[in-house]
């Protein structure tokens, strides 16, 4: 580990670091490297003649530990000691680094490991096969009689061995095999261990470089104001006072925004505050949360596109005992800790961009489009991300910064204030879920679920939007984990007025798991059954989720007595290819305040690459979900967002955090996704626990403290 860490540090600390800046190799070094070409059998692996192993990371590191997990998979199949590995961020390329599930380079939908699992294993195994073949030829023996071990090829019968470094040149002349033999998972030495993360040592001493830390020589600093009303334009700008602010260099007025460029952010901020701007607010100035909800509720009453149907749901609804309910989720901002920013240097014939993005190629294209330059003239330096959560699946910040940079001589770092970041987000949509079900003999016999909300996919990946169905919007609803014979799931697209919407951690399952798991609890009551027992009865065909449910129930002490005003709630989900059951224990006080004491989570996510990372993602994801459940809501008045910063867009703080226990279930199944699962799990578990504590059912988030205060205890 020490070597790896050293190599990583070396790469990361240099001003033009290879790690952060992708394939930026100084010319002299490049010429040198050409003379003694490294072995690079595919886009993910490079071994130089000295034996240094560099693994290239197609995915963006935003805290989820993906650099480490991807490196572990490659190192495993390549069969090199972990300590010899160093990593490098990939340059933008859909062709080389496209996410196999999306076809473009994107880090999202909790699928880095799921999507890249086969191709990374094959890349590592292919390189290993070539090195083995090279050694076998040198020794004039059959490759099958050789094997690899920790960066060497061995031929046991003759007692010979060669380090990979010695085989680099020979192997480089061989063509990669089509189907290289993969390791038997029973032989994994790296995968399955909680190895230390590669990106964290530089995050404890201030050396890690995020997009906001880019400092190209001569950089100036800018901050901006967009029209507070969505879609509005700049009217008049009086810059007489702003020009007087010390350190202000330039004021850039564009159609929809004003930016002030200065010697540092303070000058820019002061300059912006000194501007007299009148806005041409446009037609959205009368949009309010009221109008948003009216429109959504009306749309949700109409039938939508059928995304899944089995049996006869309508007929089944007429039998047994029927229950109807609608659940609603508000707009949410992402609020990553690193506010939006992008540094751009527009030159006459080229453009350089420094940013942290989840979509490298889209970020590059955005700058190309704005400048009119061909793609290969736009260099993108992808940095570490100070949180993504879906916000950095958009490239709007790159387009905006490039539009500003076109007017600036030299590089300019555009930094959004927290207020601009929150008020000009691409928001988690409002959703309304209309559900009906009938229960008979203690189980659900008929089920209809209509999801109404934005079709984000229609904007973000248009070819994937077919027949009026947003495949993300119905995710976890069409594949509901329970065995229900008669079922219909509909999607009703309804785009909110004015407010732009996008992916937010947990994406479609966030909404669906909340609605389904809240409704399951209501149905359990209707059926007169315990919530865990009720779910168990419909999970016979889903043994992995059943096992998770039993484990979470057991570990949480489900059914054991609790103090007054305290309750337990359960939620089960199969989202992102992982099977997770969660039990929350909450206390509701007389003011309606909710204190979450404990969360117990049982997880079957298939083969685990780095167990500690899985646990960390669940801990963090659950807290992200708690923030949403307890506080999260963006409201609109006069066409603008009313929240502005952390004082009115609240985050959970350390004194509000419950005990969290995560129990991993051993599994040999293909890896599932994990980054978003905790976020989808927490809200329904908490809502159900609040019901258990108070008898009050909340069908909207965030929790309504007034409602909870209205009834004193259960």
């Amino acid at each position: 580990m020490t070597t790896s860490r050293r190599a990583f540090l070396q790469a990361g600390t240099a001003a033009g670091s290879a790690f952060l800046l992708g394939f930026h190799i100084p010319l002299a070094q490049a010429a040198d490297a050409a003379a003694r070409a490294p072995f690079a059998p595919n886009a993910f692996i490079r071994i130089d003649p000295q034996g240094a192993v560099t693994l290239i990371m197609p995915q963006a590191e935003m805290g989820q530990g993906v650099y480490t997990s991807i490196a572990m998979i490659l190192a495993e199949e390549l069969d090199v000691p972990w300590a010899q590995v160093s990593i490098e961020a990939a340059p933008p390329s859909d062709k080389l680094y496209g996410n196999p599930l999306f076809g473009i380079q994107v880090t999202g939908n909790s699928n880095s490991i799921r999507a890249f699992w086969p191709s990374l294993r094959k890349a590592g195994a292919g390189a290993r096969a070539l090195l083995t073949e090279a050694a076998a030829r040198r020794w004039k023996v059959a490759a099958q009689t050789c094997h690899t071990e920790a960066g060497t090829v061995k031929h046991v019968p003759s007692g010979r061995s060669l380090a990979y470094a010695a085989l680099v040149e020979d192997a480089g002349h061989l063509s990669p095999p089509k189907d290289p033999p993969l390791k038997n998972p029973a032989d994994f030495k790296t995968i399955g261990k909680s190895l230390k993360r590669l990106d964290t040592p530089e995050k404890v001493n201030g050396k890690a470089l995020y997009g906001i830390d880019a400092m190209p020589p001569g950089v100036k600093f800018a901050t901006l104001a967009l029209c507070p009303v969505f879609g509005g334009k700049v009217g008049q700008v009086d810059d007489s006072k702003a020009q007087q602010v010390p350190g202000v260099r330039q004021i850039v007025v564009l159609e929809d925004l004003v930016a002030v460029v200065g010697d540092h952010m303070w000058a820019a901020k002061q300059g912006l505050a000194a501007l007299g701007i009148t806005w041409d607010e446009g037609p959205n100035a009368n949009v309010t949360s009221e109008t948003v909800w009216q429109q959504l509720r009306a749309a949700s009453e109409k039938s939508g596109a059928v995304a899944k149907t089995s049996g006869d749901a309508d007929k089944a609804l007429a039998s047994g005992e029927r229950l109807d309910a609608a659940y609603e989720l508000p707009f949410l901002a992402h609020a990553p800790m690193e506010p939006l920013n992008c540094t751009v240097h527009v030159k006459s014939d080229s453009c350089e961009v420094w940013v942290g993005t989840q979509v490298q190629t889209r970020a590059q294209s955005a700058a190309a489009q704005v400048t009119g330059l061909p793609l290969d003239k736009v260099t993108l330096h992808n940095h570490l991300l100070g949180g993504g959560f879906g916000r950095r699946l958009e490239a709007d910040m790159v387009a905006t910064a490039t539009r500003i940079a076109k007017h600036v001589d030299g590089p300019v770092k555009v930094v959004w204030s927290r207020e601009e970041d929150i008020q000009h987000d691409v928001y988690r949509p409002v959703y309304r879920d209309v559900l009906a079900a009938s229960v008979a003999d203690g189980r659900v016999v008929g089920w209809t679920h209509r999801i109404t909300g934005s079709a984000i996919i229609a904007r973000w990946l248009p070819p994937a939007f077919q027949k009026g169905i947003d495949i993300d919007g119905v995710d976890s609803a069409v594949d509901i984990p329970y065995d229900i014979q008669n079922l219909r799931v509909e999607f009703q697209r309804d785009e909110p007025p004015a407010v732009p919407t996008g992916f937010w951690r947990g994406v479609g399952p966030n909404n669906n798991v909340f609605a389904i798991e809240s409704f399951m609890d209501e149905l359990a009551k209707k059926a007169g059954k315990d919530p865990v027992a009720f779910r168990r009865g419909m999970l016979g065909k889903n043994p992995r989720l059943l096992a998770a449910l039993d484990l979470a129930a057991g570990k949480s002490g489900w059914g054991s007595p609790l103090p007054a005003r305290t309750g337990r709630g359960v939620a089960a989900q199969g989202a992102f290819g992982s099977f997770i059951a969660t039990v929350a224990e909450v206390e509701v006080d007389e003011n309606g305040d909710v204190r979450v004491h404990r969360i117990v989570c049982a997880v079957d996510t298939g083969i685990v690459v780095n167990p500690d990372t899985v646990v960390a993602q669940l801990q963090g994801g659950l807290i992200f979900g708690l923030t949403a459940a307890l506080f999260g809501e963006i409201t609109i008045d006069k066409g603008r967002v009313q929240q502005s910063n952390f004082q009115n867009y609240r985050m959970l703080r350390i004194n509000e955090v419950p005990k969290i226990e995560v129990h991993l279930i051993a599994s040999g199944a293909a890896p599932g996704g994990i980054g978003e699962t905790g976020t989808t799990a927490a809200p329904p578990a908490v809502g159900n626990a609040i019901y258990a504590a108070t008898g009050i059912r909340l069908r909207r988030l965030p929790i309504d403290r007034v409602l909870l205060a209205g009834r004193k205890g259960a």
Binding site: M62, T200, A208, P336, E338, G388, L622, I623, N645, N655
Partner: protein
Amino acid sequence: MVNLHINGEVKAVDAANDTPLLWALRDVLGLTGTKFGCGIAQCGACTVHLDGKPIRSCVVPIGSIGERAITTIEAIGATPPGRRIQQAWLDLEVIQCGYCQSGQIMSAAALLANKPDPDDAAIDAAMAGNICRCGTYVRIRAAIRKAARSA
């Protein structure tokens, strides 16, 4: 021009007196380890030490500092509590995106310097001003405990 005593060196900063320390550090001196999160003392990302006490550098004007000693994340590893906190952070793999962690570590190091064995209430009091959007709080608490024990 304002002289600041930063990490044991005197640095001349060419900016107005009312400039918050955060921007002097980041944009003028290139010490980018200290982070901007909110600009209004709500998140703690910008925490540095002034004579050993944690402050939110986004709201402290450079003209108000005088000769008091500023310590930033880049130098906190030179202090025994800072070093122990950094090591505990790595041992327990606290960090996710890491953007809040300079501030978290500065707050935790100050806590440990003045309370070598903090209980839960002391940890809450010292750390509640630092937001972590990735939700690393469970491990932050455990790592502070571990660092305290490793003294």
